[in-house]
């Protein structure tokens, strides 16, 4: 039975709860301390984006397996305003100009797989996976 956790994000507490749940699962799956910290940072950034731009949403984390590989999947979803120009927010130096936060390119770098799906006025779903090496 695979572990799955949902955390509602509507406050800074939610962000911390998502981090905590993510770190715990990452440890259980067997990620080393550096990868644990990376996954946690990715969750943290995704949760913050939800909190800042959509007010509320959800972080779902689960263990995944694919052809002998084990890993961890994060799904961040919200029903916020959506991202107008995905290509731009994925550009280095766009959201981080001024050196604040990792931004979505940072999350993409921290993880192995990254899919973003955003509709204007409907919301955004970001799925990211880290594989155990």
């Amino acid at each position: 039975m695979q572990v799955q956790t949902h955390v509602d994000i509507n406050s800074e507490w939610g962000i911390v709860a998502a981090r905590q749940a993510g770190r715990k699962l990452a440890r259980e799956i067997g990620f080393g301390s550096v990868d644990q910290a990376r996954i946690t940072t990715a969750i943290s950034e995704l949760a913050r984006n939800i909190y800042l731009y959509a007010n509320q949403g959800q972080i779902k984390i689960e263990e995944v397996a694919d052809s002998g590989k084990r890993g961890m999947k994060i799904i961040a979803s919200d029903e916020g305003p959506g991202i107008k120009d995905v290509r731009r927010v994925m550009e280095d130096g766009f959201t981080t100009s001024g050196g604040l936060g990792a931004g979505l390119p940072g999350v993409k770098r921290l993880m192995d797989e990254f899919i973003i799906d955003s509709e204007m006025d409907e919301g955004t779903i970001i799925t990211a996976i880290k594989w155990l090496r």
């Binding site: 080393g32 550096v34 910290a37 990792a102």
Partner: protein
């Protein structure tokens, strides 16, 4: 751990062990060299912190729990630095790409400028044109027709860099479509103004000075579209006069006329065209005066025109510590003695 990590681990362990034993500068020097190797192998700050902890745990018998735990905090902080480091690397790659694209564009731009030498019995001619960045907003032109009339021009797009360079290529193409360029400077500017007015943004404009030397009557004809005044040097009295024409900059209004001027060019007389990058050269933080430029020319009257402009450029470049603020174009036409 893969082989690379194993060897990094071992190297780091040796270094740390040696340092803890004798606290030598030598071991620290090793560490400094090692950091280069780590960066070459794309090792991130967080991996370095983690490497340090695991090696430390390995060689120290028993670490207090607080020490080990404190590394959790350090690791978390270092993730941010690691991201900034990776972003820096990717931006650096992108910059290199842009740089090489710009080099190709700059190369294309240079092909728009005339490069054949002018060698005439009666006229001595020289020009230097250097962009402040890779691309230039200055344009110059010289062209000899079948009758032996020599047309010269300097244009300056207000602005610098790529947008200015794109406008500059428009001037070149517009000039190519004009016939009878050698005869009437006023007409040439009128025609160019129509093209420029139709094709550039309202907030951009171009200044230009256009002149023609007719050897048949030894007269020089010119007109100016709001351009930086040039100089007319008269050998007989050893004097410089400003070469100024009335006419609005190109690109403001579709119907403009440009007043044409002419004067005889005696033996040894010179016509100097320049862009404001020359007069706005700054020496010791202050713009140079126009008479400083004329003095520099006067000191070199015995040199060929090309050497005069080259030397003045070199002197001003050096005086500005090799940092041009604006594109620099200086042109001299002299009637030979």
């Amino acid at each position: 751990m893969d082989d690379m990590q194993v060897s990094m681990y071992q190297l780091y362990k040796n270094m740390l062990t040696s340092y803890l034993q004798n606290k030598s500068e030598h071991a620290l020097y090793h560490a400094q060299q090692f950091s280069k190797q780590m960066m070459e192998q794309d090792m991130s700050p967080e991996e370095t912190v983690s490497l340090h902890l695991s090696v430390f745990q390995d060689i120290a018998d028993e670490l207090p729990e607080e020490v080990t735990d404190s590394f959790d905090l350090l690791l978390e902080v270092m993730i941010g630095y690691g991201l900034a480091y990776r972003e820096h690397q990717s931006l650096r790659d992108r910059q290199q790409e842009l740089e090489s694209e710009l080099n190709v564009a700059a190369q294309m731009q240079r092909t728009l400028l005339p490069d054949a030498g002018i060698n005439l019995d009666e006229v001595d001619f020289g020009v230097v044109s250097v962009p402040a960045g890779k691309m230039s907003g200055d344009y110059y032109h010289y062209d000899l027709d079948d009758e032996g009339n020599l047309a010269i021009a300097v244009a300056d797009v207000i602005g610098k860099g790529v947008p200015a360079a794109m406008s500059m290529s428009m001037i070149k193409y517009a000039m190519d479509t004009l016939t009878d360029k050698q005869m009437q400077p006023g007409y040439v500017l009128e025609s160019l103004n129509r093209v420029v007015e139709r094709n550039i943004d309202d907030d951009m404009f171009i200044t230009m000075m256009y002149g023609v030397y007719h050897p048949k009557n030894s007269h020089f004809y010119f007109a100016s579209a709001g351009h930086e005044p040039g100089f007319f040097y008269q050998s007989a009295g050893d004097t410089f006069t400003d070469l100024e024409g009335r006419g609005l900059v190109l690109g403001v209004s579709p119907r403009m006329t440009y007043k044409e001027y002419d004067f005889p060019l005696e033996d040894g007389d010179m016509v100097v065209f320049l862009s404001d990058g020359v007069t706005e050269s700054r020496v010791d933080g202050e713009f140079i005066e126009r008479d400083q430029i004329t003095n520099m020319i006067r000191e070199r009257l015995d040199l060929p025109a090309q050497e005069i402009v080259d030397e003045i450029y070199q002197q001003l470049e050096k005086a500005q510590e090799f940092q041009l603020r604006d594109d620099f174009t200086l042109m001299i036409l002299r009637r030979k003695v």
